[in-house]
């Protein structure tokens, strides 16, 4: 099949698609739709064109009808390939019940689609942006206290009095490994400390 040729057969033009409903959390935004896939823990952002097509994947509306409706929405005719492209993206994101039978083996190229739409197109290229949701452990960084201790910023971990909290304290380096609070220098037996809270503690 060469560029510019009509690709689909009559049967394909009348093909329908069915949007997945189960195990999805859907959040409508003014110009986009967010979809969270509870099974795969993936989040998808459908732009306006992709969302338009996805909302019409009701198992009844054909590709040709979707293109007509999209054209009505945009105010100018829209090629059916735009709908096929959207269906391909939605299928890859596993947001359709069944994989549509695409008119071109190997899928439709973005470049070809850009040419189809042309500059100043009435609708945007259908886009489905996706990411895998992080686990809690992936999302949270924990710089643990002993890491801070090892880095020399606090030579004694938080502990009972006289050092209830090492945080924001100044700390003495040296063999004593003593943590000294901002208000006292009495315990400073090591070399001058790395200043943390204020600059001069332990230097006396």
């Amino acid at each position: 099949l060469r560029e510019g040729e009509k690709m689909e057969t009559k049967n394909q033009r009348h093909q329908t698609a069915l949007a997945r409903q189960k195990d999805l959390v859907v959040q409508e935004l003014p110009d986009e739709v967010m979809v969270y896939d509870l099974k795969r823990h993936k989040a998808h952002c459908l732009n306006k064109t992709a969302a338009f097509v996805w909302h019409r994947c009701d198992g009844k509306t054909s590709v040709v009808e979707m293109a007509r409706l999209l054209g009505e929405e945009a105010g100018s005719p829209i090629d059916e390939e735009v709908v096929w492209y959207a269906l391909e993206k939605l299928s890859k994101a596993e947001l359709l019940e069944a994989k549509p039978e695409l008119p071109v083996n190997g899928g439709l190229s973005r470049r070809r689609m850009m040419r189809r739409l042309g500059l100043g197109a009435a609708v945007a290229l259908p886009i489905v942006a996706s990411l895998v949701a992080p686990t809690a452990a992936q999302a949270v960084t924990v710089v643990t206290t002993s890491k801070k201790v090892a880095d020399g910023q606090c030579n004694h971990p938080p502990g009972p009095s006289p050092n209830p909290l090492c945080f924001n304290d100044t700390c003495c380096t040296g063999s004593s490994k003593l943590c000294v609070g901002n208000t006292t220098r009495s315990g400073c037996t090591g070399t001058p400390c790395a200043p943390l809270g204020s600059a001069s503690d332990c230097n006396a």
């Binding site: 986009e32 967010m34 949701a133 949270v140 945080f167 943390l196």
Partner: protein, 278 residues
Amino acid sequence: LPVEIDRFEEANRIDWRACASITACGLRVGIRANKPEFLDRLLALAPSIWKPSRSARVERMFSLKVGASGLRKNGRSWHQLYEDHQLAASSAGLDEVLDTFERQLKIYLAEMARRRVFIHAGAVGWRGKAIIVPGRSFSGKTSLVAELVRAGAAYYSDDCAVLDKYGRVHPYSSPLAVREPGSFKQKNRSAKDFGGSNGLRPLPVGLVVVSKYESGKRWRPRALSAGHAMLELLAHAAPARRNPEAVMTTLEKVVSQALVLKGARGEAEETARLILEG
């Protein structure tokens, strides 16, 4: 179901000498140790937002068993941490066990917090709005937060932006863990060190800065659409998998009221100035 403090099997054979019940983010957590002097040490490792609780029923129990010294031939004692019924850490190094406690408690609160969504992000307050800087470790968010504070913003957090259901940011102040240039080492600094102060009240988000440090770059960001902004924030949301509906509702509130900018940035000082100048 909530776990009763005294319902453990293996851990129950240990003679717990000190116990505390705390609440944080609507969660009740029990902390106990076989040596009383270590209870304060554990509490000091908990995120600063905790308050003492009188409840004997907790939803998660952390139990630290500090080994007796001098009992083994090599003179080393063995320490253990239980998270509920599970042995979470067992090591001759007490620091290692305490690290596990600190990490597991923080992850538990970030994931399970009631009515709060934890985003891995720095946060500051500026002219009645919050600026949040989501990002992974080493993306330079702490240095940017530090420079924003130095430039006059109020410090909220360098690590977790804690959002309520209205999309407002709450203070979650821990010391700024600032990395030394070209090093993995970090130093704890307070907002005062940067001539700033801590934010006290919740603020609506006015700006989200999605940025990573790149040497020589200048901050020339582009605005993200609401959907892409949500994806950026969701990538750093601790409860994303456990409660995606609540996370998405909260993030929708954020992106509907905030400008979300994305782009590489150069030095934190210049970027902070550009951000605050708007």
